[in-house]
């Protein structure tokens, strides 16, 4: 069944409020999961569990977590993603909005790409 972006966003917000103990109004589309909402690794698993249940989808871990990418020498040099790394990020995680990240692909800034909007995009790609 197709869902509108608003319907998806509403459920995603509910899941994030629940998992991260934040207020409704903190969960804006631009909010970063780790920086703004304080998500830790175990929280991501809870979010994955609850997304799978709420939307009846499967969430392969490598599609939401970039851990492997950041530790692979082919994709990272001098603390920045290489061109190959950026290509990999784009193909593996099309739901991310890279914005200015490409001009300064510092791996430490990678976590800022994981926003509430990226989760909504991800779910939208899965359910529709």
């Amino acid at each position: 069944m197709a869902m509108t972006r608003e319907e998806i966003a509403e459920k995603v917000q509910e899941i994030l409020v629940d998992a991260l103990g934040v207020d409704d109004d903190e969960v804006t589309e631009e909010a970063t999961l780790m920086g703004d909402l304080g998500a830790e690794s175990i929280d991501f698993l809870e979010i994955v569990f609850n997304l799978e249940k709420a939307f009846d989808i499967k969430v392969p871990r490598e599609e939401l977590f970039p851990a492997e990418l950041a530790s692979n020498e082919e994709f990272v040099a001098d603390g920045k993603l290489t061109d190959a790394g950026i290509d990999k990020l784009k193909s593996a995680m099309p739901h991310l909005d890279l914005g200015d990240f490409e001009s300064d692909p510092d791996v430490n800034k990678m976590s800022d790409l994981f926003t509430v909007a990226s989760i909504i995009n991800f779910v939208e790609g899965k359910v529709n």
Binding site: L45, E46, F49, R61, F65
Partner: protein, 162 residues
């Protein structure tokens, strides 16, 4: 004092649910300090009892080969106090179990009286997504603990385990 906060399992359905019992007694030293003249079981220890009940149920799914640790208390609501002489029944249901982690929902009752509602998550720490490393030795389900487990899990539960 031994760090075991449940006394036995009364039900054990692998992969699904388990029920354990904890008898609270004034022989437990800490009750005399918590609080002097007004002994009640600390809520933190009820969480631990729930974590042990749930952790064993989750550990069973990987034949106790993987280390299972309490990673997150999603929710813990306490409705009443627990006194010496009370018998607690802890029921755990597995909500999710995956390679990296598991989540459970638990209820603690004393008779018909609900004491607590708890939701928690466990990490399978050798497959944790944060990429942290832990000692090879199984410090969770060690030999001493496993010996005890054979004693207090219902008979036949661990027949297939090496």
């Amino acid at each position: 004092m031994r760090w075991i906060w449940i006394d036995k399992f009364t039900e054990f359905e692998p992969g699904k649910r388990a029920v354990s019992i904890k008898n609270v007694t004034l022989a437990e030293e800490h009750l005399h300090d918590h609080f002097p003249g007004f002994p009640i079981m600390p809520t933190s220890l009820m969480i631990e009892a729930m974590a042990q009940t749930g952790g064993i149920l989750v550990g069973y799914e990987r034949k106790f080969k993987e280390k299972v640790i309490l990673a997150k208390i999603n929710k813990a609501t306490f409705h009443d106090i627990v006194r010496p002489g009370d018998q607690l029944t802890l029921e755990v249901v597995i909500d999710n179990i995956a390679d990296e982690a598991a989540s459970i929902t638990g209820t603690i009752k004393c008779g018909e009286n609900t004491i607590a509602d708890i939701k928690m998550m466990f990490s399978h720490i050798d497959n944790n997504i944060a990429g942290m490393e832990f000692p090879e030795e199984n410090f969770v389900f060690n030999d001493q603990f496993m010996g005890l487990l054979r004693f207090y899990l219902p008979e036949g539960t661990m027949d297939n385990f090496s």
